[in-house]
């Protein structure tokens, strides 16, 4: 499956794969695993934000819900960890159905607020349902079972978990490139026209929301297994904000950019934590404000813009925003253009 990706975009795909394989040699392996999980999470959020035009501020519900589910499956059933991760993803997808159903009818800022509120509801449930989630202590001692293999070394676990992340990226990439993905982009750019062409806009949005939640669930489940615990932090709204920050920093609507954003933020948080600086919000918040104010294309978006402008207008990057919008409606996804 990776082969078709290689055939279409050889250089970035090979480079990305090489970096992903080399990562635990370059940096501390548990941090490498964190980066991989957050990268997939960011790609899942970008699927919604960059390609459907929906800013979800509640994806912590899916990441955290899957983290708890994967943890519970691994703790209580002793199934191999891939089953736990997929179970987490399944729960995330199921949770996304009612939340998405109620949220996709709203647009823009309303959608962000409502998803945020529903995620907070999941947080409160996790906090109060102590018998299952462990409340403020979280779930501890989650095993990493894989047919008796010893995966306690984070270095080896990275390679056991990486296929999930790569598969998740592949699915996200396939979705974006599929006819379904093209419809999503058209809904982002001009929902009225998409509806006029006969597409059930809300149903498309809901499906995108559920798919995005499922991918976030894979990432969150893997995160819980890799850390050996799941805590309330995973369902808290700062987690939703952090992943959005990674997407914006990497470049909205670039899919791969989120991985760059994830790498930078995770690495930064790790350095700050090592230095004993706990109030990371001061730094990450400032970066966020700066990016939003002056660097809205993000890293990957800027690179792509420079490449595109060098190559001239003839070789424009693939999903260009349509030209038939009013000039002043600078929507979120336009920043990359």
């Amino acid at each position: 499956m990776i082969l078709s990706m290689l055939a279409r975009r050889p250089v970035p795909a090979v480079a990305g794969l090489a970096v992903a394989l080399a990562l635990p040699w370059l940096i501390y392996p548990p941090v490498a695993m964190d980066i991989a999980c957050w990268a997939l999470f960011a790609a899942a959020v970008d699927l919604l934000l960059g390609f459907t035009g929906l800013l979800s501020f509640g994806h912590a519900a899916f990441w955290g819900g899957a983290a708890y589910t994967a943890g519970l499956i691994a703790l209580h059933t002793g199934l191999p960890f891939p089953a736990a991760v997929l179970g987490g993803a399944l729960l995330a997808a199921l949770l996304a159905v009612p939340i998405g159903y109620l949220s996709v009818r709203l647009r823009g800022i309303y959608f962000a607020m409502v998803t945020l509120a529903f995620a907070q509801m999941v947080y409160f449930v996790a906090n109060q349902w102590r018998d299952v989630t462990g409340g403020e202590n979280g779930l501890q001692g989650i095993p990493r079972e894989l047919f008796g293999l010893d995966l306690s070394d984070p270095f080896y676990f990275y390679y056991a978990g990486l296929p999930f992340v790569l598969a998740g990226f592949f699915v996200a990439w396939r979705i974006v490139r599929s006819p379904f993905g093209r419809v999503l982009v058209s809904i982002r750019d001009n929902p009225a026209r998409a509806r006029a062409l006969g597409y059930p806009v809300d149903r498309y949005k809901l499906l995108a929301f559920v798919l995005s939640a499922a991918l976030s669930g894979v990432a969150g489940g893997l995160f819980a297994i890799s850390h050996g615990f799941a805590s309330l932090q995973e369902v808290y709204w700062t987690t939703s904000g952090q992943v959005v920050m990674m997407v914006v920093l990497g470049g909205i609507g670039t899919l791969w950019g989120g991985a760059l954003g994830a790498a930078l933020i995770v690495e930064l948080n790790d350095r700050l934590a090592t230095a004993g600086f706990e109030e990371t919000g001061i730094i990450t918040g400032a970066i966020f404000m700066l990016v939003v104010l002056v660097f809205r294309r993000g890293i990957w978006g800027t690179v792509r813009h420079l490449l595109a402008s060098r190559a001239g207008a003839s070789r424009a990057a693939a999903p260009e925003p349509s030209d038939n919008k009013p000039a002043n409606s600078d929507t979120l996804s336009d920043a990359r253009a």
């Binding site: 800022i109 409502v114 920050m245 109030e279 918040g285 404000m289």
Partner: protein
């Protein structure tokens, strides 16, 4: 039970003041201010710092803190919010989210997460016929109702209010009628922030003063605003008190739902009226 209902109305006072500030800001600027909870927290800390370091009492703080933070809000609008105003409003949502993280962690860095003590400006209790109630809580409820009522009167009965409402509903047309809409944007933003700070000062003597006090509250207030109808000033205030009341009564009968009830309420409202109870469908 009546006492529980009264507790609910007192929490509702804070929801209403915060939701009111969010609603006027949203109405005028189209911006949802994520940092609103952080400014509420700063209001409480402002009162605490004034008392702790300068010996300034509650009554002075109740005026000084909202004015200072309101001016800070005006500066914030001029420096940052305005630059993003022509873009998608989600950018300002993200900007204020970043700001909320900064403000919260700056205070945490300085004061830690433990709660700071703040004495009540007056003790005693009031006999309300069926039960006695702490006088300070009665005062909070009365002040909140008075402030919300005053804002309502200003918006509906004065020239300033007329301009603000007109700019909210039809900015282009208002501009065409020769009114300088842009002039009112910063003051309205500052006023919304001042309301949050005012609520924070009011909360200092009865709620735990700590850096996280605004973080969870703001999301509940978002739910309140969605229930009331974003951009509807009356809806926000009414929903604020209603949510306080319903949560308190819910707590009495189904304690397990005490924190989630407001979100269940929001889901129900979204099913029935996506624009909120008092919102207009066109605003969606």
């Amino acid at each position: 039970m009546l006492e529980q209902a009264f507790n609910g109305l007192v929490s509702g006072s804070f929801y209403a003041l915060l939701a009111l500030g969010l609603a006027v800001i949203f109405g005028m600027l189209g911006v949802v201010n994520f940092a609103h909870g952080a400014f509420y927290m700063l209001g409480a800390f402002g009162a605490f710092i004034l008392l702790d370091s300068f010996g300034v009492n509650f009554w002075v703080a109740l005026f000084v803190v909202p004015i200072v933070l309101g001016l800070a809000g005006i500066a914030l609008e001029r420096l940052f919010i305005q630059r993003l105003a022509p873009l998608d409003p989600l950018y300002n949502f993200l900007l204020t989210f970043g700001l909320a993280l900064i403000l919260q962690d700056v205070v945490k860095h300085r004061y830690g997460v433990q709660s700071q003590p703040y004495p009540r400006p007056f003790g005693g209790s009031i006999d309300l016929g069926l039960f006695t109630y702490p006088a300070y809580q009665v005062f909070v409820l009365a002040v909140s109702l008075a402030v919300c009522g005053t804002v309502w009167l200003v918006l509906t009965r004065t020239r300033v209010g007329m301009i603000v409402r007109a700019s909210t509903e039809r900015p282009e047309l208002t501009r065409a009628l020769g009114i300088d809409v842009a002039r009112w944007v910063s003051p309205v933003f500052g006023f919304g922030i001042a309301l949050a700070a005012f609520a924070g000062v009011l909360a200092a003597p009865m709620r735990a003063v700590n850096p996280l006090m605004g973080a969870d509250l703001i999301i509940t207030v978002f739910a309140v605003v969605v229930i009331g109808g974003l951009g509807s000033v009356f809806g926000s205030v009414a929903a604020g008190f209603a949510v306080g009341l319903v949560s308190a009564l819910g707590n009495l009968y189904v304690p397990a739902l005490s924190q989630t009830l407001v979100f269940i309420l929001m889901a129900a409202v979204l099913l029935w009226r996506p624009a909120g109870l008092f919102g207009r469908e066109e605003a969606l």
